[in-house]
Each structure stands twice: as C-alpha cells, then as structure tokens.
Subunit: 143 residues, 4 copies
C-alpha cells in the first residue's frame, strides 16, 4: 500500500464511527504501525470538574491504538479491541487532546499496541495526559 | 447518609458530566458500594460496524466504577480515575447498555472497583458485553 | 470429561511447571470454568518487607485464571496467557495464599477470566489480597 | 543522590527480596527514572512447555518498574505496586530475560511506569517478550 492508501483505509473506517463524529474527533496521521487522532475540547467531552472526561481519553486512545493496528492488518481484514488498559496522569480544560498509537507487535491473530494521550493548550504547550496498552484481534471485514 | 442522600450525591456529580449528558447516559442506581448507569443505543455511540463503540463501553464502565467508589468516599471528598482496564466480550446494536460498578476495596487513599457491562435488547434479553477493573484516588472536592 | 478427568488434565499441566514446583504451589480444585491453587509462605516468595511478593501473587493469579480457562478448552488444545492485569489490596506475611480463577467468557479463540487472591493466616482467618483480569488464547497442545 | 547512591539504594531493597534471590534475578542498572534487571533461564522459572513462565516475566517486569519508581521517591520513602498489566508477546527457552522499567510520571502520591521484557539467547540475539504498564504508590519506608 502507498502512504495515501494507508491513510485512506483508516479514514474510511474512521468516518463510519458515529461516536467519533459526534465527539468531534479527527484523523491526523496514519502510517504503517502508527496513528494519531485529535479531539478538541467541548462540552461533549467533559467530566464533573469541567476537564476532559477519562472516558473520552479512553475512547481516543482506543481508536489511536486500533487504527495503528489496522495499518498492519492484511487487506480484507480489520481489527477489534480485545481489551485496553489506560493510566490517567492529569486532567485539562480547553485546547485539544492528541492520541498517538503505536504497534508493538503485529501477530497473525493478535496485535499489541500502546498509545499516549497528550494535551495541547491554546498556546501550543503540550502535557502528558494518559498512557494506554491494548490487545487487538484481527477479524474479517464484513462491510 | 440515607439512601436518598447517596443517590442525590451521585446524581449531582453525574449531572455535571457534559459527556454523559451528550451521549444520553442516565443514572439508574447508586447505593453504598454500587452504581448502575444506562446508555441507550444511538448514532452518538457507534463504531464502524454500527455496534456500540468500545470507547462508549469504556466510558460507561469508568463512571459506573467511579460512582460506586464515590458512594464510599468521605463527605467533602470525591474520586478520580487513576486507571482502568476493560475486556470486551461482544458488540451489539440497538437496545441499551447497562454498566454496574462494585467496590472491591475502599482504602483511605485508593479505591478498587470492578464493573460489568451488559446489553439489553428490545425484547429484554441480556448479554454480557465487557468487564472492567479500576483504581480510583480519593481527592478533595473542589467545586 | 468427568470431574476426575478435568482435575487430572489440569494437574498434568501443573506438574510440568518448574516455577510452581519450585515456589511450592499446589493445585487445590479444578472444575469446569474454575481453578483454585495454593501457595504457602516461605522465603522463596517474599518482597523487601517480608510479605508475599506482588510477583508471586501475579504468578499465582495467572495460573488460577489460566487453568480455569484450560478446563473449557477443547481436547488437544491448551491455553496461553495473552495478558493479565492485577490490583493489589494488601500484603501479608505467613500463612498461605489461595488464588481462585473463574471463566467469564469462553470463546473459540480467546477466553476471558478473573481471579481473586486471598490470604489465609495460621488461625484460618481470610483476607482479600488481589484481584486479576486476564485474556487467554486457545492454542494447539504441542507436547 | 549520586549515581552510586541510586544504585546502592535499589540494590539494598533488591537484596531483601527472597523471591528474586531464589529465582536467580540480578540488578543490572538503576538510574534516575530507570531500572534494568536480569533473570537467567533455569527450571525455577519455567511453565508447562519449558519456556519462561508468564508469572516470572510478570514478577521481573513488576520489580523493574517498581525500582525505576523507587529512584524517584523521596528519601525515607519507598514504593509498593498498586497494580500492573502485562502483555505477553512470545515465550522463549534458555538464555536470559532482561526487564527495563521507565518512569512515565512521578507524582507525589502515585508513580506510573512502563517496562519492556526482552529475551537474550546464547548468541546475544534479542527478542521482545512482554510489555507492562504499572501504578506505584509512594509509602513511608518502615525498615
């Protein structure tokens, strides 16, 4: 696959995710073994203190890892999350989140990834938010 | 605290979560050491295959565990998620999700919880969706 | 399989684990979907404060979950750990640990389990030590 | 602290771990925010197929992360594992394992780490074995 094909493959799946569309997430990068997604701050993603919700960080990290994995799956296949584990380091208001997923090991049946979630404030300052570790299963694409 | 007080305490925090309001989640039960939340199916919570998004299951399990923990926190304190880990067992379309969190151990500084996510279809049939394990930190309430 | 066959199947695999033999662990129960193992206190399983080592609790929980999974695997197959996550609740000296694994979902390719680790002191008093959540993969038995 | 002090602080705790002594583990490196430990192959660390036991990889990763964290704890304090999660990528026989822990975030109360476990065979060839993510709690040293 060319670089454009890899990005297009991920974008096509991303566009089908109603949850990401509604939360306002966008695809930033998709290369073999890597994917970066962005989520701007809005009242659609807040917890009780007004910061980004842990569930939003989890969802963003889940798809960053998942789409990093998809770039390594054979054509005709896609991936589903078997499980993930996320540690939260800080909560932030405003700005946007970036989650970057990396493939640690791409097996025939299972793919292991990690992801980091970073906050970028209005001035461009970045801060670590969360780290994730994930297991994906390679499954036939059915749509 | 009376049972009504416990429910009201959780509801007051829940109502401040923009993400839960936007996704359409509701609080079902909150008792000492236990919390149940519901999330009806809509295009705000779907993944690329049209099923409930893993990120939605994760967010729902996170708050079910978190609010189970809140019921055990001293007055004037609340809880934040240190980390959680979730295993997905199946994906479902339609109906609604229920996540029920349970406190496994309530320490002075840390609280450990588990949660199960169950799908209920239009006929009332229930199916296991996900299981979660979580660490919470007890922190002063600042609002 | 009869109950005796299930226990014998697990015992046969258990006996091949050099690490469990060396640490002094024993198989207590193995029934469809459940396995209980024991580990007596000794200086082979301690951390720097003299309590049971987190690594010993992790290893014990790993095999309790793994052997619970093995009881559900088809004949000719066995299981390997894809990943596990363990929360520690307390450390204890003396007595013994018991870890009990339960199958949460037995799929054709993956099995999900949980396990609880409990401490039993010299007087028989039991205390919760740790909880674990695990993913197993079903693989052909090669020996 | 000087580099020698950091190594000596970790070694002093390591030497008190009966389990590590009995399994044959050794401390290789300890620098601010990093720790590397080694475990040679022996029948004390095997599973049923003769490879390194997942419980041994877990215990090794747990202390690599824990001692990386200890290097960041104030004097008079030490760390205990709140929880860890480990993904296994491959099993190996012979040679030795190396686990390297890294501090991702050192808070006042909690420290988050990751660790990689690598296998080194008799010819010096290295292979990825496992990745871990961990939460530590900073506690007063009591001995």
């Amino acid at each position: 696959m060319t670089a454009e094909d890899t990005f297009a493959r991920v974008q096509a799946s991303f566009d089908r995710q109603g949850m990401m569309r509604h939360l306002g997430a966008t695809l930033v990068r998709a290369e073999p073994g890597l994917c970066e997604v962005a989520l701007p701050y809005s009242d659609k993603v807040t917890q009780q203190q007004g910061g980004f919700h842990g569930g939003a960080m989890g969802a963003l990290a889940d798809i960053a890892g998942g789409y990093a994995g998809l770039t390594m799956a054979p054509e005709g296949m896609e991936v589903t999350s078997v499980e993930f584990k996320i540690n939260f380091m800080a909560a932030f208001q405003g700005g946007e989140l970036r989650a970057t997923g990396h493939v640690v090991k791409a097996g025939r049946r299972l793919i292991i990834t990690t992801a980091e979630v970073t906050h970028i404030d209005a001035t461009g300052k970045t801060s670590a938010c969360a780290v994730m570790q994930q297991t994906l299963m390679v499954v036939p694409k059915t749509y």
